[in-house]
Point group: C2
Chain length 240, copies 2
DNA sequence: TTTGCGCATCCTGTATACGAAACTGATCAA
DNA sequence: TTGATCAGTTTCGTATACAGGATGCGCAAA
């Protein structure tokens, strides 16, 4: 970036981390579309590191399911079929429902207060209805759910959910609820969820979250205009 | 193994795979107990490969949650707290319940028949009650559940479940239901599950599986004599 | 024009080298 | 006795080298 961009002086660490971050971002923003090959040497040169950390980053992405590595073939960015949207929504619903149930008996007062604040802010965004407000809503919504996940204090749960969220993000790309009615329904769900937390009722919180997630699915693109099929070329599938 | 054990001739590939398999096995069988350090160089020498594939294997185990790698510190075999048994059981219950629900509308006749066969065999094992029969029961049980998971045809579901099963296996080590009553209850659940599949009823199948899993939890060690705390030495915890 | 084969090239898997961070344990002061 | 400091050693992260399987293209034959 600066004048000394390629001086290997200022940072000898975290090359692998950097490689992972960059690749993840490139995949998520579509710069590396489905079917694109990840060539270790090229990426290494591109990122200014050696093949070793690039390799590690690719393996990590493969472990998360974003990239396919088969035998000695080049790694390729996975293509996700439309019918997986359904599975991801349901999977997420089950996992986040469990998160909510756990959070119900574990959320501390400050976290609860934080949730209320976020809910209020989301309501404001939903009321505004501008594009910017909608984007803001999405961000707040992510934080809302993340806060609940943190509150659930389930390590394995969080680990299981992570790739699901990542892949869903990738599949739905920039799709976000934009219809006012959906936003308002979400806000309603959030309030109900908070109420369940206040009651410290795991069962209720779980059900509420499940409802919330599955409702989002119905509002989502899985039953409407395609989200997948955005691939320009039928890039020759890695064979066998 | 043979007279040419260290000739690097017969196989130049799959060193990483081998390293992973060996390490996984050593962790699961307790040869590498919780808290043990995984030193790349030592393992490399031990396995007769270089550090590179060993490193890859360790990262893979870390991604699956069996091993902790923090910064530049040595990788260490994770220690699982007793209170995680609960989480794992519930997580597994939610995921396998979803698997059963999906399988209900996807299982083909041959697979269903296979399930019936396994159920019958398990019943025989339960009736026998010998130690061998019990071990056999456990194996059949695993295959039963795996068959359902396959039948669910949910790729992300399977990916999410994998580490959960692996960690649970590790935590419960060699613990298996041995009490006759539990085995019989399991058999009953299996039959009910199969009935739900025959009815092609996702809701029923899901509930049945959830019941089955949570019932196993109650019968399990999480509320009885300790399973953790089997560590002999209080191996100096990796600090910070 | 299409299909199959062979060769040049690319790319990956593994091994090895090297600098830097972390660990060890021995010494010294309070 | 206890706690901190520091130098030697260990171990890791990254870079680089090399061998062999994958890839892709040209050319010949149908």
């Amino acid at each position: 970036m600066g004048a000394f961009s390629d001086t290997p002086v200022y940072r000898m660490v975290a090359a692998a981390e950097k490689a992972y971050d960059v690749l993840l971002q490139r995949i998520q923003c579509g710069q590396l579309p489905s079917g694109a090959f990840l060539v270790e040497g090229d990426l290494a040169r591109d990122l200014g590191v050696s093949r070793t950390p690039v390799r590690e980053a690719i393996r990590r992405l493969a472990a998360e399911g974003l990239v396919l590595t088969e035998g000695r073939r080049r790694a390729v960015v996975r293509e996700f079929a439309e019918d997986q949207v359904e599975e991801l929504y349901e999977l997420r619903a089950r996992l986040e429902s469990y998160a909510a149930a756990r959070a119900a008996t574990r959320l501390e007062a400050p976290a609860l207060e934080h949730l209320r604040t976020l809910a209020t802010e989301m309501e404001a965004c939903a009321a505004a209805g501008t594009e910017l407000a909608t984007a803001c809503f999405a961000d707040l919504n992510d934080r809302f759910h993340q806060l609940i996940l943190d509150g659930a204090r389930g390590e394995h749960l969080a680990a299981a959910l992570r790739p699901v969220l990542q892949i869903q993000l990738l599949l739905l790309q920039r799709y976000r609820h934009t219809i006012r009615e959906h936003l308002e329904r979400s806000c309603w769900h959030h309030r109900e969820l908070i109420r369940a937390f206040e009651l410290r009722d795991p069962e209720l919180a779980g059900r509420q979250m499940e409802l919330h997630m599955l409702s989002a699915r119905s509002a989502g693109p899985s039953n409407g205009a395609g989200v997948g099929a955005a691939v320009l070329d039928p890039i020759p599938e890695a064979k066998r």
